[in-house]
């Protein structure tokens, strides 16, 4: 068996190749799906009120771009701070619950309960407490998005390697130091799993907040379109929602990549499969 030296990082086509591998397949699938939908719509198999023809959706997307963009911006104005605050709240909850057992026991059931009540039911109570306005919408987003962060980060904090903890204790590390130098870095993968989920949900949560009685955004626009049976405009606004969500998701992914440099596989050990 002959081995060849290939310094993969020196290979210029590689980065481009990897990018193509990541982006092309889904793109291809999207194109195929769109073509299929258009065909189904054209032949009348799928009625427009079930799923509008992609061509029409595209037209609506172009025609109403400015209008929808404006509405989307309004949604973004809630979704972005809402997401950031969720990440913060979720992190804070997890840290507090990891730190104070009693608090954890007390708060946990309520945190779970907060997730089991449909948003539409809980919104009036939030408006009652905080008054009508952006504040209430923000809280709805936070309510939806903090939970995955909390659960995942808490799991991460609690699965920290016992021996490393022991080592930190022997060095007289304070709780804060243990958190900063050990627990937090160790639970970054779990934390980011939570962040991924939350980033996926946050635009949807802002839309929910609009529906449940908040400002005017792409969600309200979408509902209005739906109620007046303008399906192509409705799907166009869904595409806006998807696009915004994907941006959040992509940013989360990006942050994840860059926050854990030590997880880069060392060169030459990328491929572990044994040869025949």
């Amino acid at each position: 068996m002959r081995l060849f030296s290939t310094d993969k990082r020196m290979n210029p086509t590689n980065a481009g190749g990897r990018f193509a591998l990541r982006v092309l397949p889904p793109l291809l699938l999207v194109v195929i799906l769109i073509a299929a939908l258009q065909l189904l719509a054209d032949t009348g198999v799928i009625r427009h009120y079930v799923l509008p023809a992609p061509g029409e959706v595209a037209r609506s997307l172009v025609q109403d771009f400015a209008v929808m963009g404006n509405y989307a911006l309004c949604t973004l104005r809630i979704a972005l701070p809402g997401f950031l605050l969720s990440a913060l709240t979720g992190t804070a909850f997890a840290l507090l619950m990891d730190r104070f057992i009693l608090l954890s026991h007390t708060a946990y059931p309520f945190i779970v309960i907060s997730q089991t009540i449909p948003t539409l039911v809980i919104t009036p109570v939030i408006v009652l407490i905080f008054g009508y306005g952006d504040m209430a919408s923000l809280i709805v987003v936070i309510l939806v998005c903090f939970f995955p962060v909390t659960i995942n980060l808490l799991q991460g904090l609690r699965s920290v390697d016992d021996d490393l903890l022991q080592m930190m204790h022997t060095m007289g590390a304070s709780r804060a130091a243990i958190l900063r130098h050990l627990k937090f870095p160790a639970s970054l993968p779990s934390f980011f799993a939570g962040i991924r989920i939350s980033s996926t949900y946050c635009v949807m949560a802002a839309v929910l907040a609009e529906w449940a009685g908040g400002g005017e955004g792409i969600g309200i626009y979408m509902l209005r379109m739906k109620r007046s049976f303008r399906y192509s405009a409705m799907f166009a606004s869904i595409l806006w929602i998807i696009a915004l969500s994907l941006i959040f998701y992509a940013v989360a992914l990006f942050a994840e990549r860059f926050s854990m440099p030590w997880r880069e596989r060392p060169a030459g050990q990328t491929d572990r499969r044994s040869l025949s």
Binding site: R47, H48, T123, G131, G213, F229
Partner: protein
């Protein structure tokens, strides 16, 4: 009946909302076996979304909707082929309501107040029409999307007036001893006297099975006539379908509607072209319809048992 059908027609009826007094005739007709007599077995399905599409798509044969929805659906580029075949209530019972203390007695008083909306273009058009009629400035109204779950709570926590159906929310205010001002739409603008709700079916059912529609409406009409004479029985039927509803509310609402099912019409279910045309014209004018439509095709009263009764 002379020609006995060997098998029953199983149909689905798509309700437009939670079961309520608008629906009692349907439930009575089922309970008292009127549908069975016609060889029909009805299953009711409730949701507040996409019930029109369900009828159009054939998942349901019949359904309930508001007149403006039928018009919008037909005018949409998707061209949803639903047709109204009977009116439940002869005149519009909806309007703008506000707590007595806010002093909103006419559309002029909307200025400077907060409107608690449902997020439809229609209600805003109502609002604008009424205010323009009185020379008030629509822009002086602040509009929010209702977050509270009901009219009173919304008035208490976030807004000053809202669009309600008197037969439900209005009656509830009476029962709660919550005095309100109520501005009926057609009292300001006669064009806004529309049919809400109506029973709908799809063009396909009309084409393929007109007899089913006839039989269905015959039994349904009997049900509504029974409801008028026997409000207690009507409420009983409704409770059987949707357990747990507040009987006091149902009864009061039923009594409110009883006189309005037929009202000034010759018979139950009747619809006048004029009402359809005027309202459609208003919608067209207010840009609520995507394209001009043949209003005459949007409704069809020919399946009703009519004058001679069911």
């Amino acid at each position: 009946r002379p020609e006995k059908k060997p098998e029953v027609d199983r149909i689905v009826f798509a309700l437009d909302w939670t079961p309520n007094t608008n629906h009692t005739g349907l439930f009575l007709a089922r309970d008292r076996g009127y549908y069975a007599l016609e060889g029909i077995e009805v299953e009711f399905r409730e949701s507040d979304m996409d019930f029109i599409e369900m009828v159009a798509g054939g998942s349901a044969q019949f359904g309930m909707a508001a007149q403006e929805q039928v018009l919008q659906a037909r005018a949409s580029t998707a061209g949803i082929p639903v047709v109204a075949i009977a009116a439940i209530v002869q005149h519009n019972t909806s309007g703008f309501a506000s707590p007595l203390g806010r002093g909103i007695e006419s559309p002029e008083d909307f200025e400077g107040n907060t409107y608690s909306g449902w997020g439809t273009e229609l209600e805003l058009a109502f609002l604008r029409t009424l205010m323009e009629k009185q020379g008030a400035d629509f822009d002086q109204v602040s509009i929010i999307n209702q977050s509270a779950g009901n009219f009173i709570a919304s008035m208490e926590i976030e807004a000053d007036f809202a669009w309600i159906y008197y037969g439900w929310d209005g009656i509830n205010c009476e029962l709660e001893d919550y005095p309100i001002n109520f501005i009926l739409l057609q009292s300001i603008e006669p064009d806004l006297d529309f049919y809400s709700p109506v029973i709908i079916t799809s063009e396909r059912v009309i084409e393929e099975n007109p007899d089913l529609i006839r039989r269905f409406l015959k039994a349904t009409a009997r049900g509504y006539l029974d409801a008028i004479t026997d409000p207690q029985g009507a409420v009983d039927s409704l409770e059987k379908v949707a357990g747990g509803l507040d009987r006091q509310l149902l009864l009061a609402s039923q009594l409110y509607l009883n006189g309005r099912y037929i009202d000034d019409a010759p018979y139950w279910g009747a619809m006048r072209s004029e009402t359809w045309i005027r309202f459609a014209a208003w919608m067209q004018e207010r840009d609520l319809l995507d394209q001009p439509i043949d209003v005459g095709a949007a409704f069809d009263t020919s399946f009703l048992p009519g004058e001679e009764g069911p």
